[in-house]
């Protein structure tokens, strides 16, 4: 077992612990902070997979934007951060059983694939990877149209979020 594998296992353990805390803690604000730790663990995994671009994007977009947005939403929707009362749905055991079955099915399907044990080959030239990625995004024959559609989607989401969340009471009444 190499140093990198040990490092990955440590990162994975921290990530999974943080993920469990996100879904199990009673305090919503703590859940948001645990979510940041879990997202950071995924960013480290991206870096270990030699995709540094996505590690940076993960930190900037997920931790920098989405997690902060979630914390804002927590503060806007709670006067008291401690949740009292039942946290679980009624009939919680039905999804629990279903999810256990899903997990068993996923592990069963994936374990039949033979390629898992192989080590990934070294990247041929790691430096040009990102420029390839950028060129594919603006290439008309590759991903230019989805790229433009994504930008329109983001604009629409921006306008829609402002419209939905804006307080129009003063205007209407």
């Amino acid at each position: 077992m190499t140093i990198q594998q040990v490092f990955f296992l440590a990162v994975a353990a921290i990530t999974l612990f943080a993920a469990v805390m996100v879904v199990s803690t009673r305090r919503i604000m703590h859940a948001a902070l645990w979510l940041i730790l879990a997202l950071f663990g995924v960013a480290v995994s991206f870096a270990l997979l030699e995709t540094g671009f996505f590690a940076v994007v993960q930190v900037v977009v997920y931790i920098g934007a989405i997690a902060i947005l979630i914390i804002f939403a927590v503060m806007l929707t709670r006067q008291v951060f401690l949740d009292v009362g039942p946290q679980l749905n009624r009939g919680w055991w039905i999804p629990a059983v279903l999810v256990a079955g899903l997990y068993a099915a996923l592990v069963g399907v994936l374990s039949t694939w033979s390629g898992f044990q192989t080590q990934a080959a070294a990247l041929p030239e790691a430096a040009s990877d990102l420029s390839q990625f950028g060129l594919a995004l603006v290439d008309v024959n590759a991903y230019a149209v989805p790229f433009e559609v994504a930008s329109v989607l983001l604009l629409g989401a921006l306008v829609g979020a402002i419209f939905v969340a804006s307080d129009r009471k003063g205007v209407e009444r």
Binding site: I28, V42, V99
Partner: protein, 100 residues
């Protein structure tokens, strides 16, 4: 470098934790966080397989998943704030009608 099944294993377990949180919890914001966990698990699987096959397509998918996730979170949290303003609660068991 760690073998592929390490990353896929982490991805599967994280996805299952996300589904559990989404199905079991009542607070809508916790459901959102579980959704983010599931997005991240899928992204991790995409990147791991893209690295395995040395193909750019998986990374491209992650790029678009992140864009869509950002849009989804913006609209979803705005909805959450709007619902909280009218109902004074974001418990999903109490949001039982679509009437505004």
């Amino acid at each position: 470098m760690a073998p592929l099944y390490y990353y896929v294993g982490l991805s599967v377990i994280m996805f299952v934790i996300g589904i559990l949180g989404m199905l079991l919890r009542r607070n809508a914001i916790v459901i959102f966080m579980s959704l983010e966990l599931m997005f991240n698990a899928a992204n991790l699987a995409f990147i791991a397989f893209s690295r395995h096959y040395q193909s750019l397509n998986g990374q491209m998918f992650v790029f678009f998943v992140m864009a869509v996730a950002a849009a989804e979170v913006a609209v979803g949290l705005a909805l959450m704030v709007a619902i909280f303003r009218t109902r004074r609660s974001i418990d999903v068991d109490q949001i039982s009608s679509m009437k505004g």
